[in-house]
Symmetry: C2
Subunit: 197 residues, 2 copies
């Protein structure tokens, strides 16, 4: 199993984190993102969207960090991290979608602007950050995990760009429940970190 990866990418990191937590070996293939390698011919053949991470497992070439989390949970039969009962599965999937939308267009975009110089509407990204962080903080004010009273891939999907908010000039100080949730994730057995976390 090969993971095409960028160390500084929160989306790549969530895959590395899950593989570490479930103690599964893989081959890391670093992609020279700043050198544009993710847009070269071989990369586009793996992922037409020119993005990382990409997971290659035998004949399967899979893009999108959320889809990769789903795949790994299923491949290794980790229903503790991603249940198969319809109600519980759907509850987790809701948050995968939040990672793909509200978090991507909030704290992730703010960080892309500040850290990587992306030209985007950073004020809008900060406004969206405040909204999603406020909602998540409220949601986590009376529970330890996003769903099911245990860590799932919902938490892993949402975690990196929230924990990296400060790299987009978004402070987590107003959100104590989010800070506690981050600490709980960091305390999971076999947790691995990434730069700036």
């Amino acid at each position: 199993m090969k993971l095409y990866d960028l160390e500084l990418s929160g989306n790549c990191y969530k895959v590395r984190l899950f593989l570490a937590l479930i103690e599964q070996p893989y081959t890391l293939c670093p992609v020279d993102f700043l050198g544009g390698e993710h847009k070269n011919e071989a990369s586009i053949k793996r992922n037409v969207f020119g993005e990382i991470p990409v997971l290659v497992d035998g004949d399967l070439t899979l893009r999108d960090s959320q889809a990769i989390l789903v795949y790994l949970a299923r491949k290794f039969d980790r229903t503790d991290w991603f249940p198969t009962t319809p109600v519980d599965e759907a509850k987790v999937v809701q948050w995968l979608m939040i990672a793909e939308s509200e978090i991507a267009r909030g704290p992730n975009d703010a960080r892309l602007h500040d850290k990587f110089g992306y030209e985007l509407d950073v004020d809008l990204a900060r406004t969206k950050s405040t909204r999603i962080l406020t909602i998540l903080n409220e949601h986590l004010s009376d529970r330890d995990w996003l769903e099911l009273d245990r860590p799932t891939i919902a938490d892993l999907a949402c975690f990196p760009y929230i924990a990296l908010s400060h790299e987009g000039s978004v402070s987590l100080e107003p959100y104590p429940a989010l800070q506690n949730w981050i600490d709980r994730i960091k305390a999971l057995p076999h947790f691995v970190s990434m730069p700036a976390l």
Copy 2:
């Protein structure tokens, strides 16, 4: 099973379409979107994000159209529409994420601007529309369905806002493979339509 719904929403429509295709009954609860009902207290209690659709099924209150498609496929054991084998499931999930991101920020945003007066960067939405429509057209140039050689919830998740592109001043004329795919979806048994489709 109750669906909180707006007739003009492509996200609500994809749920109505799936329920029609698999011939499952439900109670439609129209939400007065233009009157702001989706932001009132009862609506926010169902979905803190103040968006529709929302599906209520017994104790479960579920937001996000993609998550609802997943839930319905699992609840009614429709592995034809959403497989449970890890590789096939992940291939479908990839496109659910495209519906949640590239399509939402492309043709959906362009339509929100043109049809509903949303204040957003419509030039950016049109640029993103061209990109995702070009990629999808190429992807569908040598296959009938997004994955697995059969219709799945991947197709249903992506279909509405692509088929409604013209309402965001985005023409599908340059994309013949997409047009053919739309026609194939419209020809599915028990297909139902929506305004402007």
